[in-house]
Subunit: 253 residues, 2 copies
């Protein structure tokens, strides 16, 4: 199995490959956090490092895929369907949910969750959250067409898992139909959300996982006025040094 | 409601008082971590600070209790019965459990959990864990009588929740019957257990909560040779500065 991803998808593919007894090769940007490389490698996958451009990652994976099968990280109907199970679980656990906040990178998770929820319970609001420094999904949804950012632009955000330069076309179709809005959050807001998550519910989120909580904490006026809100926090690959920096810092927002 | 405790018991009493609409007053040692004082106060309780000696804390609480009801933190049959529900939950969730590791301070939690488990499934081994710098429970169990330490002695450990100078007499009776052994752990082992819990299962434990995991990680030869082991991690009141220090540090054990 081949895939290109730095985060949960990489670990998911590595995990599945190991369970099935096949080899996994993951193409990762060379600026991915060490903790993500190690977590993926510890699941038995081989890591191939490339430059930070999404296109480079995808090209390398497709080159390798000529020999093996490829598991795309987001622009794929089966991946979207798999992510959708999260939406069904939310409805099962909290049927009274009114709004769901979801981190947006390539758009796989929000496509799946939004579709599963809207087709089951259309009144539930679906809001994406992404860093203002990589807000291609918000721009795309507002423009009605897919907006591309450069690798240099998206690399500015601390949320390394959301540095995709554009959402996938299959994802965009799902988002146009089922996503109500996308909120963008500042870097300081992401850090403060991580800090509060660590201190009180004692939940360790990486920056990409905390954007949904940052949207809830600091952009309330842009959100639906609902009482029962869910924020998906995914993932938790936080470097010990970053956790130390964040828990030590005073609030800046 | 009056009680004396710095940790989970304090927060539990504060929580229960608020739920019942009555006032809670908690007598706490003045060296209790700020995060514990704040967490208890944020649940609406009034905090009364006294010196670090257990006797001082208890005396102050009993003085206040003349006017109000008192909820003792460990030397009490109802508190022990309440803690026992944790043992029943472990058996329900993991019927194949063979050994349970439990932090020991005053002895409330281990009394309840040990009793519930041994009366349900006598083959399960019950092992207590405490800091070597406050190992009064281990000394007591081995001597067959309650051993008292001074406030100065127990204050040396980082595990502030386990600084009780002696276990309660009711607790000791339970422990004599239902606890197989007590393992004591070094300060470095406690810190390393906290670090590993934070990095991988992303679980934030305070020092007192991590002693059970430290026993499992670093004292395997002193434990029963069983495959299915449970370590109770309680609690998670970790100061942001300590979390920062610990996640930054390299392993020293």
């Amino acid at each position: 199995m081949i895939s290109y991803s730095s985060g949960n998808h990489a670990q998911g593919v590595a995990y599945a490959a190991r369970a099935l007894g096949v080899k996994a090769v993951i193409v990762m940007p060379d600026n991915a956090p060490k903790i993500k490389r190690e977590a993926t490698a510890s699941l038995g996958a081989e890591i191939v490092l490339v430059g930070p451009a999404s296109s480079e990652r995808q090209a390398k994976a497709e080159e390798l895929a000529a020999q093996h099968g490829i598991v795309p990280p987001y622009n794929d109907e089966k991946i979207i369907a798999g992510q959708g199970t999260m939406g069904l679980e939310i409805l099962e656990d909290l049927p009274e949910v009114e709004t769901v906040l979801i981190p947006v990178g390539g758009g796989g998770m929000i496509s799946g969750v939004a579709t599963a929820i809207k087709l089951s319970k259309p009144a539930v609001k679906i809001i994406g959250a992404e860093p203002a420094l990589a807000a291609d999904a918000q721009a795309s949804l507002r423009a009605g067409k897919i907006i591309h950012l450069t690798a240099d632009e998206v690399t500015r955000t601390v949320a390394d898992g959301l540095r995709t330069q554009s959402i996938g076309p299959i994802n965009f179709e799902h988002m146009l139909r089922y996503v109500d809005d996308i909120v963008s959050v500042a870097e300081d807001e992401i850090r403060e959300a991580m800090r509060r998550l660590a201190v009180n519910p004692k939940t360790l989120a990486e920056p990409s996982g905390a954007v949904s909580v940052a949207a809830f904490l600091f952009h309330r006026t842009e959100l639906p006025r609902t009482k029962v809100n869910v924020a998906i926090i995914s993932g938790g690959n936080i470097e010990p040094q970053m956790l130390a920096d964040i828990t030590q810092s005073a609030s800046t927002v």
